[in-house]
Assembly symmetry: C2
Homo-oligomer: 340 residues x 2
């Protein structure tokens, strides 16, 4: 069992810096594309043997130090009664966006064993196959709310913010409902075998620190608190969250994901020393010649300081990335040592 990732999460010194990639399972791998040629994304998510296979593909090919469950953040929403589809090249599209209190009433609290049993079954298969830790995940309440309110991906989250500012009580109720369901979802993933969890708050970086603290952080904290007793490391990640890193650390997260815009040494001044940082090579760097990848990854490692650091990209792997570059990057990170 490769324990590098969990060792860093525990605060121990690992034999090398652990590395995995957000979206490592997916579009950049030919073996994934082959499966996608005959199955849509939600079918892959709902079929345990296939979801397990997609989760395993990058572990086999790249030698990463953790697997992340193949799924989508909207999967539990569907199980809460939200009619939706995933449109390739666009993202999730919600049939009836939430506009007011009645939209929240229509959300059924998630019962993971009934609604997403296939996810739990996938986890069971994976734990038998994997020799690296398995990371489970969920979308964070704010990010899920943006999809539910905007009806799909949005440039500026204007409707979401209008509801947040205009009807704060309704907003907090929505955050509460989503937090409780995602907490149940993540607890079920841990019970089924996940050894760490990551909360993806992809769009939280559209908020400034005052709004994040008032309208989002309480729901994130509720999830972190609710998972504390489980003992698994809890990661929180979002994009353009540079100004929010201190608040995200206050949520109780053990690991804070950092996007590529904020150098890790700067990030550490905001989160404090105790928190483990995850990140943060610009995914677009992996499209560059190897010498550039090596130099930029080396800079990330130096700024990470060789301790309390899990190497990752600053966001998901881009579809055009050559898997050979990712493999080389894994080896480079494993071979790297901090200057004595």
């Amino acid at each position: 069992m490769n324990d590098r990732f969990l060792a860093v999460c525990r605060g121990d010194a690992p034999d090398a810096t652990p590395i995995w990639f957000m979206r490592q399972a997916g579009r950049s791998l030919p073996e994934y594309r082959a499966l996608r040629a005959t199955h849509d994304i939600l079918t892959l998510c709902r079929t345990p043997e296939l979801a397990a296979e997609v989760t395993l593909q990058p572990v086999r090919r790249l030698g990463v130090d953790a697997a992340i469950l193949f799924s989508d953040i909207v999967v539990p929403l569907e199980a809460m009664g939200v009619a939706l589809k995933i449109v390739p090249g666009v993202g999730p599209i919600i049939e009836s966006p939430i506009a007011d209190e009645s939209g929240i009433d229509s959300l059924a609290p998630l019962s993971p064993e009934d609604g997403v049993s296939y996810v739990l079954e996938t986890i069971g298969i994976l734990r038998k196959e994997l020799d690296v830790p398995l990371i489970g995940f969920a979308g964070a309440p704010f990010t899920l709310a943006t999809y539910l309110i905007e009806g799909g991906p949005s440039k500026n989250q204007a409707r979401t913010k209008a509801l947040m500012y205009g009807a704060p009580k309704v907003w907090h109720r929505l955050m509460h409902v989503l937090a409780d369901s995602m907490l149940a979802y993540l607890r079920a993933q841990v019970s089924a075998g996940c050894q760490a969890i990551q909360l993806f708050d992809s769009w939280a970086g559209h908020l400034g620190p005052i709004e994040y603290g008032e309208f989002v952080l309480p729901a994130v904290k509720r999830i972190m608190d609710g998972l504390k007793a489980s003992g698994v490391p809890r990661i929180v990640f979002g994009v353009t969250t540079g100004e929010l890193l201190g608040l995200i650390a206050e949520s109780g997260a053990d690991v804070v994901g950092v996007d590529w815009r904020t150098p890790l040494d700067v990030a550490r001044t905001r989160t404090g020393e105790a928190v483990i940082l995850q990140g943060n090579l610009d995914p677009a760097v992996c499209l560059a010649p190897w010498e550039t990848v090596r130099a930029r990854a080396g800079d990330v490692l130096e700024r990470g300081g060789g301790r309390n650091h899990i190497f990752n990209l600053g966001h998901g792997v881009l579809p055009d990335t050559d898997p050979a570059t990712l493999k080389r990057l894994v080896d480079f990170v494993h071979d790297w040592r901090p200057d004595a």
Copy 2:
């Protein structure tokens, strides 16, 4: 003549905090929509009487302390020989995106008097009509390059970054060509009567500080240096540039625009005290009830400290904004005074 905006730019203490809005001329105003019903955007930009009228509309209605020329950042690109269109709801679409050196060869250096004489004519009309300062503008080389390379708006600027990392010599040549043409464009705008200029580097915030410093800042600095002798205030603005604010200040800009993610007091610790800050109310706040707008605008003013501060939004006015809210906001900012 309302001199409030220029007074702050000179470092003087104005009688009240000046305010204008990015995208104040445009989609949120019914009188603009009426014009758009019969003219497309590029026709409005190319017709001096109409472009002047659109520029004047928000000054009349809102009482802002500066006008910004109505145009589009792609207007000079067209005059450089780039075939393009603006697709409503999408943005600029470039017919033949630049992929290599030959694409740069095909760019004709901008000769403003020949290529965009209608812009200079618009400025002449406006100076006779306006009793507030007129701000000219151009897109910054990086942001223009993203459109030229991606062919339109892009989520992750992957092609742009691939060229930047993969062919740095080609990249720097492109930056140089664009910087020289935008410098000529802005100088012509100042000669025609603009009393300040703003460089819009909307997408520069997709880069971390190392990349910005190496691949973008030299071109911005070239433009700032080239305009210094003109004596007009030079503003640089971009979105998600929190980590870049110190570098942007190093460009020589007199005024640094700040997006809403970074509180102004935090921004000041990065730019230094000498720089004037412009911003930074979240545009989505203007969709909220007035009490929220008032409270959040008050917070922006407090953090701005009542000195070296031009009030603005942290990005452009959203189309659904009620102009009455903007008017009320202008009055609120003018009435506000720092605590004694």
